[in-house]
Point group: C2
Chain length 534, copies 2
């Protein structure tokens, strides 16, 4: 494919992409293919000789399109969103063209330097304390995903505490043995509602993991007291907590841990690395009304949020900020001779390879730069606030039918979770008066102590799950469910670029209809994706 | 930016990208910017309101272009190549458009299923033993980089040996302590010339690392005997080797470890996970003349090569093949309820999240699919063989001036390493007879036992480094140096898509000239990048 063929091919591809975006709302959001659908559509191996682009492109529609889940659809309200945008796509175009394995500064200085600049822009924009700026001892790096960030932080935390505790021991066998023994007693902590990546990271680091309770009565948040108690329990068993993921927007309900309380504990426990995972909700910090959430972060060690979720930079782009970059480089820098160059030796440049696990790096800052400039701060604020408003709107619809629905959490960062009230089926289908609250369940509770309560809960879970599965089975909307405090809830978060009130209205109609049906009879079938770990 | 503005912007960006590719050979391959050049070119924060694409695009030329190292230039002969191609860029375009955090099958079935298919295509194309195909117990996954792959393999290897050894212990405190104690005695092994990522991975896994000697007299390869000796030495100290990176194309010289010998040891040591890192050279396996290298792999556990180096798929794309996928999923699968869905529960689908460290995944199989189809098997073979021939051509030029140059290794997979002979400066600048070998150093040796030899070596290293730095300082060519067996060598590998004989001819002229000058006097200045870890 020469330049001229590429021009033609790219123009054709662009038209297809534009058409896709212009029609994405009309497609069923979930594909209807069965597992294994794709293989029979393709030959058993690559062609012997090259094919023309037109042949290849026509297979997008035949082979790929039927198997896509449309995350850019306004009817996608599952997990958390994964927003792309046209400026971000332009960034990817250049990044693919300026292709390099940019592991060191000299491997392409623009890759490193633009990243440092846009990470500082972001830090300022979301009101992160100054200690996270590159001018001081901190700075930001783009990594792929929150899960990658968390492994990076967990391993660095493990090594930091070992360095500190064993700093007076001479190098050698005894120290290695002591470090291994220490690792065996280290415990990483995370909210019971934190993303499972902390648990996975602790396993990768070869250390233990323990959850910190965050019960419904605490709003699914980790409180200072709960964290302190967990730390003390660990220590009483001879274990050493060395890391805690504080959650700013938990997976199931978008709960925010008591960051101010955690900050107080952080100051009493300087050897515990506190990382704040704001994978989804962090994007809301571009709005000044959320900036106060950043104040406690001066007492923490690191912070991340995924621009690929809610800030219009396509996947992958997780912004990882560190207060003391040496906490990363002390762990990840290898110093064999072949890694040396004069710029690094003189400390003139940042080598992001020493801030991360992999070696090579893509030019991801381009897409961040394009998005920040195309939208501007105000454009991004508007984008976020529109979804916050949509979340409130949907919440309003639910509380308008308290006979049918009980809101469990939210609206929090555009996410509302709720269940279907199992009793009073007649109310569910009556047209008026619709707004009669279920007297026993006007507000959410997980007090299952009585038999009656337990039975009620079981019934609510069953019916809610049925409705949820039926919604997904049609492919019209895509939702996810979650279990929070023993309660099966439906999560609705409408935060894609094409999100509009009308889709929430339509979803609500569907929910009312299906809830009414479910209260009358069992609904069978449907696609279950009980997964909120996105 | 709406669809129509995007069309205009993308067309403009495409024209710039096409122009870049059409002119990349004319640009100095290395930028001349100083560290910190970029920040003053940009405002201190993002704009308050959005900017037009034309404003943004014009900054590519002003801000980015001066700081790019041109890895697509035919004058880029450093590290190993990082080839992009037009079909791969089309793949990235679609991938960015179909943006999803595709961590599960249902999150976008096409993402998972196309990946399985193209990984099987690749495995067949390079002659991997059938055990690596998805139809059996194995399969392939696309990860970002070889370094990511190696961490993934090392941690899985650590957990596999612990599972095996402690399988009869009941779960509990005692088992956790025993596992920690075991981890402290585990040793990951790699050739002394293996990429540093194995050492970094061992650190991340919290285990030890030890190199296996691969001296010049063994051709910088790990032999069966050397590996056996290292294993035995570890065991004699009470340590447990659990992982070995066998190298198919080492970083400095593209040496290939004695894979057949390693395969024999592998059968005697089933608890040592053998991973073959063929990051660069693996692409050559598309040519049948290299298929024999794959035969021993039936006895190994995993294998990877980077299509983003030498197979025209832009960064990042490392193909990771595993013989028993359970060796990955047994370690990386977490089973909390919120990860469940009916497809996964029934074992009907592959969830690649359980084959890797991060959660989310990009749609990278699209670009692999496009490249395999655009070039076809024959096109890719032609691409590789052209570079092999270029490597032989350059090697021929060097041996044509044995008075000036001593080849240390190669040509191996298009890479030749050499040094400048320090003696007989008169010969270096004499025009004829040029082809007089230096009698003492017709062939490479690292026998530095005598004082004269040591002095000779020191002088050779100094002069070679000078020449190397002078070449890079002009920005006309980009080379890397390496230290192999105490010898500083210049590495030349011309394997970009635009590589041509004429550039090697020109480089050779430059080398002859600079070598002649260096033999007469010191050459000062220049940019040193003594780094071959790419």
């Amino acid at each position: 494919m020469d330049s001229s063929q590429f021009r033609d091919a790219a123009h054709a591809a662009l038209e297809e992409i534009i058409k896709y975006y212009d029609t994405v709302a009309d497609r069923p959001v979930l594909p209807s293919v069965a597992p294994g659908y794709l293989k029979p559509l393709l030959p058993p191996g690559p062609p012997q000789t090259g094919e023309q682009w037109s042949q290849i492109q026509s297979d997008i529609d035949r082979v790929i399109m039927p198997g896509l889940t449309h995350w850019q659809s306004p009817k996608f309200m599952a997990f958390y969103p994964c927003n792309s945008s046209f400026p971000a796509m332009l960034g990817e175009m250049y990044s693919g063209a300026f292709n390099a394995a940019a592991f060191n500064w000299i491997c392409s200085p623009a890759v490193t330097e633009l990243e440092t600049v846009v990470m500082d822009w972001l830090a300022k924009m979301i009101g992160l304390p100054e200690c996270y700026l590159s001018e001081g001892e901190g700075g930001g790096i783009i990594q792929g995903t929150a899960s990658e960030v968390i492994v990076t932080a967990v391993v660095a935390a493990r090594e930091r505490i070992i360095r500190r505790r064993l700093k007076d021991m001479p190098e050698g066998e005894e120290k290695l043995d002591k470090a291994a023994e220490m690792r065996g007693k280290l415990v990483a902590l995370g909210s019971e509602h934190a993303h499972s990546s902390t648990q996975k990271a602790a396993m990768i680091a070869g250390t233990r993991f323990r959850t910190v309770p965050a019960p419904p009565e605490a709003g699914f948040r980790v409180t200072k007291e709960a964290l302190r108690k967990t730390i003390e329990e660990c220590r009483a068993k001879g274990l050493e907590p060395y890391y805690f993921t504080a959650t700013l927007g938990s997976t199931a309900t978008c709960a925010v841990d008591d960051l101010e309380g955690v900050a107080e504990l952080a100051q009493e426990n300087p050897d515990i690395w506190i990382h704040v995972d704001a994978a989804y909700a962090g994007s809301a910090l571009v709005c000044s009304e959320y900036h106060h959430l950043c104040t406690p972060m001066q007492h923490f060690d690191s912070f991340n949020f995924n621009l690929h979720k809610w800030l219009l930079v396509n996947f992958d782009c997780s912004a990882f900020f560190i207060k003391k970059r040496r906490d990363l480089t002390d762990t990840y820098t290898l110093t064999p001779s072949f890694l040396r160059n004069e710029y690094t030796d003189k400390g003139l440049v940042t080598d992001y390879r020493d801030w991360q696990i992999p070696l090579g790096r893509r030019f991801r800052s381009l897409k961040v730069w394009f998005v920040l400039r195309s939208y501007g701060v105000e454009g991004l604020q508007k984008f976020i606030r529109r979804h916050i408003t949509l979340g409130e709107y949907f919440h309003g619809l639910l509380v308008g039918r308290k006979d049918l629905f009980t809101v469990v959490t939210g609206p929090a960062f555009a996410l509302t979770t709720f269940y279907i009230n199992p009793t009073r089926p007649s109310a569910a289908v009556s047209s008026s008066p619709a707004n009669t609250p279920n007297p026993a369940h006007e507000a959410y509770t997980n007090d299952f102590t009585s038999d009656a309560e337990a039975q009620y809960r079981e019934e609510a879970n069953r019916i809610t799950k049925e409705v949820y599965e039926r919604v997904n089975s049609t492919g019209e909307f895509y939702l996810t469910g979650a279990v929070a405090g023993g309660v099966f809830v439906i999560r609705v978060v409408s935060a894609t670029e094409r999100a509009e009130e009308k889709w929430l209205e339509r979803l609500f109609e569907v929910l009312v209809e299906y809830a009414g049906d479910a209260l009358k009879r069992d609904v069978k079938g449907g696609r279950t994706v009980e997964m909120v770990d996105g």
